[in-house]
């Protein structure tokens, strides 16, 4: 198995898990899903400069091959932005849960609360 195959599979698994979780009905799972997707995206951006092993990232007269430094700068920007956004969406969904007493993304009091056996937890939220 090559290095490329390993990285590609890791990104694929992260995206698949992220999409599954992002499609769930409760905000906590959605936030986890978004986090997984952002990890996958960061890895993907990092790999977009091609996977090169044991090469210098900046100019050196002695060598003819380099790793591309630009994707590393891009991924740094992307990490900062997604980190900030994840923190924001966590606080927002917590606030929304405390104000409305439900952590469903659709915002309705959905009957599946009782099916999940989580009705009691939601009741507590509503009382607060």
């Amino acid at each position: 198995m090559s290095y490329e195959f390993l990285v590609a599979t890791a990104i694929g698994v992260l995206v698949a898990g992220g999409i599954y979780l992002a499609l769930r009905a409760r905000t906590f799972q959605v936030v986890l899903g978004l986090t997984l997707i952002s990890y996958a995206v960061n890895l993907f951006l990092f790999a977009s400069g091609r996977l090169v092993l044991g090469r210098p990232p900046i100019w050196d007269k002695a060598v003819s091959q380099y790793t591309d430094p630009l994707p590393q700068a891009l991924v740094l920007t992307a990490i900062v932005i997604t980190f900030g956004m994840t923190a924001f969406v966590v606080i927002l969904s917590l606030r929304s849960f405390l104000e409305t007493g439900s952590d469903h993304v659709d915002g309705d009091t959905v009957p599946c609360d009782t099916q999940d056996g989580l009705g009691a937890a939601d009741g507590e939220g509503a009382e607060r």
Binding site: F44, F88, V89, L92, E99, G107
Partner: protein, 506 residues
């Protein structure tokens, strides 16, 4: 470099400087924060108009950030399209800010003015940048500010809609980053002009990847523009947001349309191999369905703000029908309609707020309510806004739709375009007439007249928006000529590329 050479950076720098000053003065000196907000908006409008006069002859101003040469450093590119969007943003910002201050909605939270300025910074930057990754960064700036503005005033309904809005846009941003990674891996550049040249040299085995990148990028912009089937986040978000903020958000969907107009001819235009005009066959049907669903929503909406949100979807659809022709005439007509539909959407949100403020507990729901103060004047305003949004004479919507129909007649599938635009106009007329008659003709039995709102100055902002529409109709000759020249410039990416790469490399 003399001062005039720094003109293209000012639309980004002014709000970036005004925001922290407004933040500092917010708690102790409210009036100062408000003053800074207005001063910054007026300054942006002045700069945008000066920029527009400088580029209207066809000149392309290239501004190198940090003086790095073009394909390596980031450049700002001020051409006709960028200047047009800057003027529109500054005008809309002034109207929205006026309404927020007059109705005192800016006092419902501490950070309205700084967030408003950061929103403008993101919008202006997105319109000016010539670098694809920088476009992503400015998208994030405007989105982060818009999350704060959308939640301004808070309350359960707003928070719930806010969670959906944020989640949808985070997924959109993740997709955008994936596209940037793909395009960088394929072309080795992020400068749009340079990328447009380098996509021609992409190897044969990578053509499929290039096609995927083009389609994904178009989907990201379609998500921002709320094109069906990616429109579901919009109605709830816009109806839940504070009306002054919703009025400003009228330009947010246009950012998506702008990005399509900017990127598709430049990067995926003639000679781009398998990705040549790759979003074009998908865009036209999506635009038709958007127009239908948007104006059907206008017909079925239960409240005025919801109706305004659906009108935004419908007008974006109509606009994209014109854009999807990718010809000089149709794109020019689309750009004229873009300016019109942004102002008309904002006017609808503002009139809805004026009604809601006068009807007490009835709000802006489309049901008969009490006889309220100033009903006749408000009814006239609603009629004018509805005329603008549907595209009836004498306001500029009529001219815009006429131009679109005229240019669509030259396209191969003109029948669909004509049929959809004419039918949706008819449906929208009925929808607005239904809501208008329920609100302004019928009166509910035995309910008390609600108290007068704190101020009757809240007529000012919607009146200003309607005045702009009237001016756009009166000056239609000049405006449509400018729009057509803009379209010609957008569809000649080789000239832009030459200007960016030679000017920027000096």
């Amino acid at each position: 470099m003399i001062f005039a050479d720094h003109l293209p950076i000012l639309p980004v720098a002014i709000p970036a400087l005004a925001a922290p000053v407004a933040l500092l003065s917010m708690r102790r000196r409210r009036a100062l924060a408000v003053g800074i907000g207005f001063a910054a908006c007026l300054a942006q409008l002045a700069v945008a108009i000066v920029l527009m006069t400088r580029v209207s002859g066809g000149e392309i101003l290239v501004y190198r950030l940090g003086d790095w040469p073009a394909p390596f450093g980031i450049v700002l590119v001020a051409d006709r399209l960028a200047a047009l969007m800057l003027v529109l943003t500054a005008l809309l910002a002034l109207i929205a800010l006026l309404h927020a201050v007059v109705t005192r909605t800016d006092r419902k939270g501490w950070h309205f003015h700084p967030l408003f300025m950061f929103q403008l910074m993101g919008l202006n930057g997105a319109f000016l940048t010539g670098d694809l990754f920088n476009l992503f960064v400015f998208f994030e700036v405007l989105l982060i500010a818009s999350y704060g503005l959308m939640l301004h005033g808070q309350g359960p309904a707003r928070l719930k809609a806010g969670v959906q809005y944020v989640v949808v846009n985070l997924v959109g941003s993740a997709l955008f980053l994936i596209v940037l990674g793909l395009l960088y891996a394929l072309t080795g550049t992020l400068n749009m002009a340079d990328m447009g040249l380098r996509v021609r040299e992409v190897a044969a085995e990578d053509q499929g990847l290039l096609r995927i990148a083009g389609l994904l990028l178009a989907s990201v912009f379609a998500l921002k523009a709320a094109v069906v089937p990616l429109h579901l986040w919009l109605p709830r978000t816009y109806a839940a947001a504070t009306p002054a903020v919703a009025a400003l958000f009228a330009i947010m969907t246009k950012v998506g349309v702008y990005s399509l107009i900017r990127v598709v001819p430049q990067v995926f235009g003639e000679g781009a191999g398998a990705a040549e005009w790759v979003p074009a066959p998908w865009l036209f049907p999506a635009a038709l369905v958007s127009a239908c669903i948007g104006f059907a929503g206008v017909f079925t909406a239960r409240a005025m703000s919801e109706q305004a949100a659906y009108a935004i979807i419908g007008s974006t659809g109509t606009l994209l029908i014109a854009v999807a022709g990718w010809s000089e005439a149709s794109l020019g007509a689309g750009l004229y309609y873009l300016v019109h539909s942004t102002l008309a959407g904002a006017a609808l949100f503002l009139v809805a707020d004026v009604v809601a403020r006068r009807r007490g507990s009835f709000g802006d729901t489309a049901s008969p309510g009490p006889e309220f103060i100033g009903r006749g004047t408000v009814a006239l305003m609603f009629m004018a806004a509805a005329i603008a949004a549907t595209g009836l004479p004498p306001l500029s919507g009529f001219i815009g739709k006429l131009l679109i129909l005229q240019s669509a007649a030259m396209l191969p599938n003109w029948g669909w375009a004509w049929g959809v635009i004419l039918c949706t106009t008819f449906i929208a007329v009925i929808g607005f007439a239904r809501v208008g008659s329920a609100l302004f003709w019928k009166t509910a039995e035995d309910c008390a007249v609600p108290a007068a709102p704190g101020t009757s100055l809240d007529f000012a902002a919607p009146a200003l928006a309607l005045l702009c529409l009237a001016a756009l109709a009166a000056g239609a000759g000049g405006a449509s000529a400018y729009a057509e020249a803009t379209a010609a410039q957008v569809l000649a990416p080789a000239q832009t590329a030459a200007a960016v790469l030679t000017e920027g490399a000096k």
